[in-house]
């Protein structure tokens, strides 16, 4: 789709029936005339800064905030030729897994009407599934590009921590966040990843050295002899249809030359607990800057505008980092995280890559209002990659009557191109 056609398609949708966007740019922001992404349209999640455009994080608190600068990853996409068309909807401050927590309305899933898009990069998934843009740039803290990727039937990738710059990203949890490329296929994801990856002097957490380009490997994927780790059992709560589709995908990859290696995943309950304790602590810390001094209305009045999930996380994060509680919660979670990283490093001594379903169920129905614990349980297979700082991507499994599902590929830290290659290999053998 050309940039002109892409924006025309967006203009035609008028009132944005899927609520995929918080704002469309009045004029698309055209990138360089040449480059690997020239002519491709890009939606940017509205927690990434684009100079002169609103940066709301889907929160009333930042409803009128205009970004004074552009995030490094967006600058690089523009330099590679992409055309930015709008700011995509999300769960408020990226704190959600279903795409129903935006202050500007829940996103609708074009690939599965009446079912959630997944979150928090809900608008990115929806606008890709609707065919309005070629590429989307989300962010992933515990599965936030992979959940909408799986539920909307598109490809999405969470790189190794530090592979993409976080400069210009409004953080949810700074030690877990990574920008994440999304597209309708892995080739699109790899093209966007290649354009964005690499060190950034403005983000000291970026990894040094030039990353291996993924696109050449994705163009001719090769799995001969690659050891794919396949869990003997999946965590409690994984839907039967998901498990059947997942096992079928593993068989197809083995048929393409890969070697299956049985393994046991690290404990799911500990991973979720470690993830959420870390998330609460870092989120509460990061949210202190929204105190009315620079952002929002003066004083603390603007914090009344925050949604219930955001308030819950701030409250819990403040509690578990307070004097007298910190060692029992936050320090303990940091140690648990180190133990989990150790477990994943051990798994990658016996397997080159690990496969799991992306989400434990097909997309849930909208408006079900699960308890926070029930909502968090959907992250059980995705939080591992963020805690262990390793790359993970999702690619669609065959769609069922209940909506799209995803196959997740995880790899050792720094092996981003290998993960994308395996995703592309599955696309070639998928029925």
């Amino acid at each position: 789709m050309s940039a002109e056609a892409g924006h025309a398609a967006l203009a035609r949708i008028g009132d944005d029936p899927h609520r995929a966007y918080v704002s469309l740019l009045e004029e698309p922001l055209a990138g360089a005339p040449d480059g690997p992404l020239a002519g491709l349209t890009l939606a940017v999640k509205d927690n990434l800064a684009v100079r002169g455009a609103r940066l709301t994080c889907a929160s009333r608190l930042l409803e009128d905030h205009v970004a004074p600068y552009t995030a490094t990853v967006v600058e690089r996409a523009l330099a590679a030729g992409a055309t930015v068309v709008g700011k995509a909807n999300l769960d408020e401050f990226a704190a959600g897994s279903r795409g129903e927590r935006s202050a500007f309305g829940a996103t609708e899933n074009p690939a599965a009407p009446q079912r959630v898009t997944g979150g928090s990069s809900s608008g990115c998934g929806a606008t890709l599934a609707a065919g309005h843009v070629d590429l989307a740039l989300g962010t992933d803290t515990g599965g936030s590009v992979r959940a909408p990727g799986a539920y909307c039937g598109v490809a999405a990738f969470k790189p190794s921590y530090g592979r993409l710059s976080r400069w210009g990203l409004v953080d949810l949890a700074m030690s877990l966040d990574q920008p994440g490329p999304m597209a309708r296929d892995t080739a699109g994801v790899a093209a966007l990843y290649d354009a964005l990856a690499g060190p950034d002097p403005r983000d000291p957490t970026t990894l040094p050295g030039a990353p291996e380009p993924a696109s050449p490997r994705v163009a001719a994927p090769e799995l001969d002899g690659v050891r794919l780790g396949v869990p003997v059992s999946l965590p409690e709560g994984v839907d039967d249809a998901i498990e059947r589709a997942f096992r079928g995908a593993c068989d197809r990859l083995v048929g393409a030359g890969a070697v299956a290696v049985e393994l046991t995943l690290p404990d799911a309950k500990d991973a979720l607990a470690t993830y959420y304790v870390t998330n609460y602590a870092e989120f509460a810390s990061g949210m202190q800057k929204f105190d009315g001094t620079i952002f929002g209305a003066p004083g603390l009045a603007s914090r009344e505008l925050l949604g219930p999930e955001v308030k819950r996380r701030i409250l819990l994060g403040t509690y578990i980092t307070a004097k007298g509680q910190r060692s029992a919660w936050y320090d303990r979670a940091r140690r648990a995280r180190a133990a989990l990283e150790h477990r994943w490093a051990a798994l990658f001594e016996t397997a080159d890559l690990v496969l799991t379903p992306t989400m434990p169920t097909p997309p849930p129905r909208r408006g079900e209002h699960p308890s926070p614990l029930e909502e968090y349980a959907a992250d059980v297979l995705t939080v591992h990659a963020n805690l262990a700082r390793i790359p993970a991507g999702t690619v669609p499994l065959p769609t069922t009557d209940e909506g799209p599902m995803g196959l997740q590929v995880l790899g050792p830290a720094g092996c981003d191109a290998a993960v994308l290659e395996a995703m592309a290999a599955y696309e070639e053998v998928r029925a």
Binding site: T264, P266, D267, D270, L272, A273, T274, Y276, V277, A284, Q288, D291, T293, L300, A301, R303, E304, L306, P308, K311, R312, I314, L315, L316, G317, T318, Y319, I320, A322, Q325, S327, A328, D331, R332, A333, R334, R335, A336, R337, A338, A339, H342, R343, A346, S371, P372, L373
Partner: protein, 107 residues
């Protein structure tokens, strides 16, 4: 003998301790924490958050369990595993920043 006897290695002892430091979440003082967090809450919000937060904290307490699935590897309990950013590391980072003089908002 001086001091306490060494704790048996968890892999050999089958050690599985509960989180002794786990707080009593039913006594969560939401109003006090909200003040610490600069978070204005209505009474209804306080009530709803008290129940939800207690449930979440109960679910997310981390107990030490031995790593029995990777024989031959060191057994990192949550107490024994290294903290990714040790206190000295954090102090070194903070020391690298120039000291702030005066109040930030004074001109």
């Amino acid at each position: 003998m001086l001091g306490r006897p060494p704790r048996p290695h968890p892999c050999r002892s089958g050690f599985s301790a509960s989180n002794h430091a786990r707080p009593v979440t039913s006594e969560l003082d939401v109003a006090r924490i909200a003040r610490l967090a600069n978070l204005p809450l209505t009474e209804d919000e306080e009530t709803a958050l008290r129940a939800a937060c207690a449930q979440l904290l109960d679910a997310f307490s981390l107990a030490d369990v031995p790593d029995e699935e990777t024989p031959g590897r060191p057994c990192p309990t949550f107490e024994d595993a290294p903290v990714p950013w040790p206190e000295e590391g954090i102090e070194a980072i903070l020391a690298a920043f120039p000291k702030r003089e005066g109040r930030l908002l004074e001109t």
